[in-house]
């Protein structure tokens, strides 16, 4: 029983990083109704910028974090301009395919610039794990969890208390109506993308700093984890992204403990499959038909 509870704690902390990745995904999907497969790889490239700063200048944690976030945002903007801004509205599949092409390009760039594949990344902290009764916690896990909570609260305030948030939500709910109110869709899309990339950059930094190393494969990993967590929660829903991330984290943590690390990803895919079959809209998602019905009541 203690093992099970300990796994749940570990899973929630692991899941909080998945939740951040899923929030970035869902923010972009919510505003554009398009999938950005390059989300993970752009974070990966940001992390390599962080590594570069670390190796070249022996920079401390904060500078590496800043470099990672700035790198992720710049690459995110590059992806937005190429795959989403340049490809007109309504061509959602073209956007998705081109974001896949850019993914390959980003990986190429990294393997050429960093030929050794695996590079060191400065760890978050070297503090020993802490005990609470029968449970123990890694300090870097606690930091990650705290950052995820703070970021989520900040995003909530941004979305529900500011003019910028009103704009993002209006576009996410009905881009046509938002345009009639005089809201500039292209500008909102750009800012939402930058915002999602910044969240992804922070999440990426926390995850990579835990691993203590970075490889070009991190892009694939981040896209998969974020995508699965978003699908579990419901595309376009932020509470869904949080819950989906936590659920994925807990399921993985239990699996690692009871079945072994080698089954970790297999179980994540199985969980996704079960959801896609039985609840394709995710835990919080409205299907498009449901949204239409809500927005146009007959009586």
């Amino acid at each position: 029983m203690i093992d099970f509870v300990q796994n749940c704690f570990d899973g929630v902390m692991l899941g909080s990083s998945y939740a951040l990745l899923a929030i970035g995904f869902t923010l972009i999907f919510g505003v554009m109704r398009r999938l950005n497969l390059s989300y993970g790889p752009s974070i990966m490239l940001g992390a390599f910028v962080g590594t570069l700063v670390f190796l070249e200048f022996r920079a401390g944690g904060l500078a590496v974090a800043a470099a990672t976030v700035v790198g992720a945002v710049l690459v995110g903007i590059y992806v937005e301009r190429l795959c989403f801004w340049a490809i007109r509205q309504g061509a959602a599949v073209a956007s998705m395919v081109s974001s896949f092409a850019i993914w390959m390009q980003l990986e190429e760039v990294v393997t050429i610039a960093f030929p050794d594949r695996t590079y060191p990344f400065p760890p978050l902290t070297r503090t020993e794990p802490m005990d609470f009764g029968p449970f123990f916690f890694k300090v870097e896990n606690l930091i990650m969890f705290a950052c995820a909570v703070a970021l989520t609260l900040g995003l909530h305030l941004l979305l529900y208390r500011t003019r910028f948030g009103l704009r993002i939500r209006a576009v996410a709910e009905n881009p046509d109506a938002a345009r009639y109110m005089g809201i500039n869709i292209a500008a909102v899309t750009f800012l939402a993308f930058a915002c999602a990339s910044a969240i992804g950059g922070i999440a990426g930094y926390l995850i990579v700093a835990q691993d203590g190393q970075i490889t070009p494969l991190f892009g694939l990993w981040a896209t998969f984890k974020g995508l699965i967590a978003m699908m579990l929660g419901g595309m376009g829903s932020i509470p869904g992204a949080i819950l989906g991330g936590l659920l994925l984290g807990v399921v993985e943590a239990q699996n690692i403990w009871y079945l072994g690390t080698e089954y970790r990803d297999l179980c994540a895919y199985a969980l996704l499959f079960v959801f896609l079959v039985f609840r394709p809209g995710g835990m919080f998602g409205h299907t498009l038909a449901e949204r239409e019905r809500l927005a146009l009541r007959r009586v």
Binding site: R163, R298, V299
Partner: protein
């Protein structure tokens, strides 16, 4: 107030508007009738700056609207109540109204809050449901919200695209009562409507749009006397 001259708007190779001329007078209710697919909504979207016409001009109190972005058109003083209402279903009523005043939020927040209060006075049902999500409102309430949301931009000209569409008869009466009230308070209204019977009771001038062209222009009296229109839009009831 609004002068539409020779507007041609196309979707790819198909011309939806093929040279539309009409005018809207200040302080009046002007009604655009026409069958489905005539181009009524296309015209509304062209005026609002959503669609770009390939030819023609739209003058609004001397300002050329063709080529302006939708937000510039809103700033000029034109707001649209879109077809099918298009409320934001997961935002509450208050947020929907604030979104309508979006362009004014940065500079005149206090004014916007006063307008919000005024809107709640005009539509008490919306005040009761201020914190409720728009998706939970009834169809009629959603239409009220769509009208109030457009008014939050403080338009001098209100464009309304089929506000009675899909509403129960009692609710249709209510919407037309609102249109009359708005007119009495000095708002100029350009209304697209398929319900000619109701429109006859409020509008001062009619245009008929058919296959992308204006084929009739006249007063309610002239409209009611026109035999073709009678048969197509008013049915037998107008003969009695």
């Amino acid at each position: 107030m609004l002068e539409v001259r020779g507007i041609v708007t196309s979707y790819g190779k198909i011309e939806a508007l093929r040279g539309v001329d009409l005018s809207v007078e200040e302080g009046r209710i002007t009604c655009l009738l026409g069958p489905n697919g005539a181009g009524k909504t296309t015209l509304m979207m062209t005026i609002a700056g959503i669609l770009n016409p390939s030819r023609g001009s739209i003058g609004f109190d001397g300002v050329e609207l063709v080529g302006l972005t939708p937000s510039r058109v809103v700033r000029q003083g034109i707001a649209l109540v879109p077809e099918n209402r298009l409320v934001f279903p997961d935002m509450n009523v208050r947020e929907n109204l604030l979104a309508g005043a979006f362009l004014r939020l940065a500079g005149e927040r206090a004014e916007v809050d006063r307008d919000l209060d005024r809107m709640f006075d005009r539509f008490p049902r919306l005040r009761e449901r201020a914190e409720q999500n728009a998706g939970t409102l009834s169809g009629g309430e959603q239409q009220m919200l769509a009208v109030a949301r457009a008014l939050m931009a403080r338009p001098r000209l209100l464009l309304m695209d089929e506000p009675s569409l899909g509403l129960a008869p009692l609710m249709v009466e209510e919407i037309f009562r609102i249109i009359r009230d708005l007119h009495r308070d000095g708002t100029s209204i350009f209304l697209v409507e398929q319900n000619a019977h109701m429109a006859l009771q409020v509008a001062h001038r009619f245009f008929l749009l058919e296959q992308g062209r204006v084929t009739f222009d006249g007063t309610p009296g002239e409209l009611a006397e026109d035999e073709v229109i009678q048969r197509a839009y008013l049915g037998s009831r107008a003969n009695g």
